[in-house]
Structure formats: C-alpha cells, structure tokens
Chain length 334, copies 2
Amino acid sequence: MEKLGKQTVKFNNPVTILQTASIVGPKEADGPLAQYFDNCLEDEFWGEKTWEKAESKIIKETVNSVIAKSNLSNSDFDYCFAGDLLNQCISSSFGLRELNIPFLGIFGACSTFVEAMCLASVFLEGGAGNNAICAASSHFCSAEKQFRFPLELGNQRPQSAQWTVTGSGAAILSKNGSGPFITNATFGKIVDMGIKDSNNMGAAMAPAALDTLLTHFKDTGRNPSYYDAIITGDLGHVGKEILIELAQTKGYNIKSNYNDCGVLIFNQATQDTHSGGSGCGCCASVFSGYLYKMLQEKKYKKILLMATGALTNATSAQQGESIPGIAHAVSIEI
Amino acid sequence: MEKLGKQTVKFNNPVTILQTASIVGPKEADGPLAQYFDNCLEDEFWGEKTWEKAESKIIKETVNSVIAKSNLSNSDFDYCFAGDLLNQCISSSFGLRELNIPFLGIFGACSTFVEAMCLASVFLEGGAGNNAICAASSHFCSAEKQFRFPLELGNQRPQSAQWTVTGSGAAILSKNGSGPFITNATFGKIVDMGIKDSNNMGAAMAPAALDTLLTHFKDTGRNPSYYDAIITGDLGHVGKEILIELAQTKGYNIKSNYNDCGVLIFNQATQDTHSGGSGCGCCASVFSGYLYKMLQEKKYKKILLMATGALTNATSAQQGESIPGIAHAVSIEI
C-alpha cells in the first residue's frame, strides 16, 4: 500500500470483498430494497425478550450467515472488526462473543461499517492475516430508547429526523479473490460545525462528508465522474441535499451519480420515515444487501462508499454540546 | 510483519514508542505512582461544569501534551486511534475534535489503549503512514454515574469492586525511532465465563487475560521468564490473583514478574480503593507515566503489556447478562 496525499491509502494488492450478508427488520422489509436482503424479520424482537438482545441476535446471525455463505470456517478468520450504536457497543460484543475469532471493537457511530472495511483492508494488505469480518448493526427501538424518547411515549418527530434502521450487514474481506476490490481508503477527521439538533443528524454530518469527499478527490486526483455511484451512509434526504449543495460550492457536481443509503432504504412518501434511514445498520445492510449485488452484476463497476457518523450521546445533548461528525470512505472497484 | 500462530503478529520493522504523556486526577495523585505522571489535577472538574466535559479536557490536554513533547506538529500524524468508557465514546470524540488528524474511534472497554497500540503498529509497519497517536481516558465520577450509582448516594462498595481511574494516557507510535519497540501484538478473542457481578470485573476479565496470555506464549514460543515484567491493565487485586492461579493450572508460573496497572496505581491499604484501579485511563496512564519511564531507564527491557476489557453496560447488567471479557497484548522491547 502507499499513502496518497494526507488521508488516503492506495492498496496495490487490494483485498476482495468475498461475501456479504444482511438481515433487516419489518420496516426495512416494507421498503424498496426488501428483495435484496437475505432475511427480513417479521417483528422487532425476533423471539428475544428485549430490543437489545434482538439487536445482538441480528448481528450474530448476520455474521454466522456471511461465514456460512463463504464456505470458510471460523478458524479461517484472523479478525472481526465490529461495532454498533448501543452504549459500550454491547450489540456486537454480546452477539459475537461465541465467534472465537480475534475481536477488535470499533466505534465510529454510523461510520462504523466503513471504518471496519478501512481497518481490515490495511490489516490484510499489510500482512497481518488473510481473512477478516466487518460487521455493524443498529435497531430502531433500542436506539430510540437510548438516544431520544421511550417509544411508548409516541411522540412526534420533526421532518428532519431520521429513522434508525433495524438491521445488520456483514462483509468478508479476503486477500484471495477476484473482486470487487477495495482499492482506496480515505480516513476522515472529526468535523464539528456547531449543529446541536439531534433531530437533524444529516445536517450535522454533511460537513464531515464534504471534508472526506473533497480530500478523497484531492488525494486520488479523481473527480465525481470517475465513479458510477457515490454513496453516503445515512445523511438522509436533508443531509443529502446539503452535501450536494456544499460540494457544488467547492466546484464538484455530484448530483447525477450520488445517493445515500438512508434515502435508498425507505420510501419517504409512504413509510413516514421523514428524512430517511440512519444507524450503523443502514450503510451496513444497504451495502451488504443491495450495493454488493449491483457490483456483482456489474451494474456498478466503481463506487465510492462513504459512511458518516454523528459522534454524540444523550448526555452530551443534555449538556448543550454540538454534534461532531466523521466520515470514512472506501473505493470499491470490480 | 508476519503472522505467528493464530492470533499474533510479529513486526519485523517494529514501530517505536516515540513519546508518551499522562494526566491523572487527585486520587491518583495521592497514589504511589504520582511522581511519574506529567500532570496531577487538584480536583475532578478541572474548571469544567460537568465530569464528562472534564474527562474530554483530560484526554484533549494529554494528547496535546504528547504532541508538544514530541516536537512533531499535528500535520505530521497520519492517524489518531482513541476511545473511552463513556457512552458512544464522547470523551475522545469531543476531546479530540479539534485535532485535525484522521480519527479512528475504537471501543475495547479497558483494553482500548492496547487495542489502539495494536492497530497503530499494524498500520505503520504495513505502510499506511509514519506517525500515529494512541490515547484513552476514563473518569471516576463519569463512570460511576454511568455504570453504577449516583455519587451523591454515597453507597458502599464491596471489597471486590474497583476504582475507575480519573486519567488519560497517550503514546506516539512512529516508524522512525530507536525504541522502545512494539515487537509483537496478540489480538484477543471475547471470552465469557458467565460472571455477572459488575462489582467484580477482575474475575470477569481474568479468563480473557489467561486466554490471550497462553495464546501469546504459544504463538511466540516464549515463556513468562522471557519478560522482565508482564503487566495487565486493570484486573485489580482480585483479578490478579485469579490470573496467577489460572496460569499456574496451565503450567505457567507468572508470580515473580507479573503485576497489574490497577494494583500499581493505588495504595490499597490507605486509599480505600478496594480491589484497585480500573478504566481505560488506568492502563493508559500507568503505561504512559510509569512503565514508559522504566523502559527508557532500562529498568525494564522487555515487557508484555496486556490490557483487559469488560464488554458490558448498565442495561445488559439489568437484563441479567453476564460480562464478556477481552484482552489484547503487545510486547514492548528496547
């Protein structure tokens, strides 16, 4: 590998995304991408007694599924990079405690899935192993309970609010394979423009997405038209429009080939999801379910996948803090 | 680098730990290691209005301090790997949001500092950059509030309970330097032996420490006497004794050269800290303050630093879950 510019690593022997798996909840199963997910649950509990246990089961079964689909066994994996939105990332640590694979917990809020891909790519090309699992999850009910209000309160949400995806995505990265390849990783900085409205995460994260996007173009010498699709993780409808405008002011027109996983996963007109999907599971499930198949079918040959995270919690909001954002990006090419 | 056995990476061009810095709170300043820390605070607030903001300030100033001591500038750093115990790791993301360095948030509970060292070592030797910052923090008051009881309640703690360290440690890892070197990293698996008592974290984490310790010896072909010191992160007095016993049953006698950061940082007889220190800041500050100086003064030439984490939260405890543990280890040699 080699460093391009300040924040990008170019992989000369890029890893293959060998396999993916995805499981989503009932709301996502009613959305436009339902056919692409491996498993659509009928309810938010999946037989568990709590939402947190259900989320753990979702990431557990998603990872078990991707391993099964790959025909590898657990002992073939050198690392599992995983994280989620629950306090102290308990969804992934409880869900994956029986994996028996070296575990590296990460926290990048909703940027977690791409952060995992960035880390695993460096590890494998660097020579630290052959196969790694990247996984992330979120759950609408556990997230609402933890970050906002009890669901039982039935409170109204502003139109800028996003709907946390119930779901998980997992990808196997391998030194051996014929693509799709992760060819570049651009590592993001924390960007905080002072947005304090936790019902407008898209606006809070868009400046970080812009920063990583511009850095990626500068570091690689590419421009938006290089990619068949530029896909952010969960800026939602509001954040997507902001990013398009901000990029335009910097001289980049991304309007024609840019979309967002949070926009793609729900039908805004019929599903009452306001600004769209969010959560670690949004980018993870949309990539693992939908985008990976588009790459396999060569409908996309080059995509830039950039997941954004809002690095906030309930206490910091109560203490009047703003919402720092971050975005990490990977180029995926066949 | 090359893989040794199943879980260890051996670095052939190992990175140097170029510089460290540490800041601790008033309780730690009354302990036996006070003279080794860069800055001992007089109170838990450090001029801030909340404990969370104080913890953010502590990690921020620790990282600023290690950069200043290194004579490098922020633009010389390719990555910052950091994490903490607060929900959604807000101590590190708020404390380090102005760094302007690519940021990779990690969560390994109290194993975070060594997890950061493991990741940074692979990144730098792999060719992804030249310099990285590893940092972690914890705060007694914010941790008690979040994980256990309001401090105002003044409740009694059992003798097996540990005292979360108020403090932070930061280390600069660099491709250029003359040591101390990180020569091996052993990546741990999640181990859950069913312990449910959140006032006995040492017992919950000791099996994970044993697993990583045995794996390290097996992978490297080393035995305990190879090291001048084997140091765990925060097993405390209870967990330390358990690890010694468990290792003995597996044929390894570590009694003579093994100690624990949580045991070292407080005086059990006079400070009412029961089983000893804990928290991400425990291993981070004891390594950055005390152990790094022992290496520089050649009092230790070879140490195995193994940080342990309890992957639990308040909700999982209320839902009757056990406490999964994890441990990551690095060999540090001059």
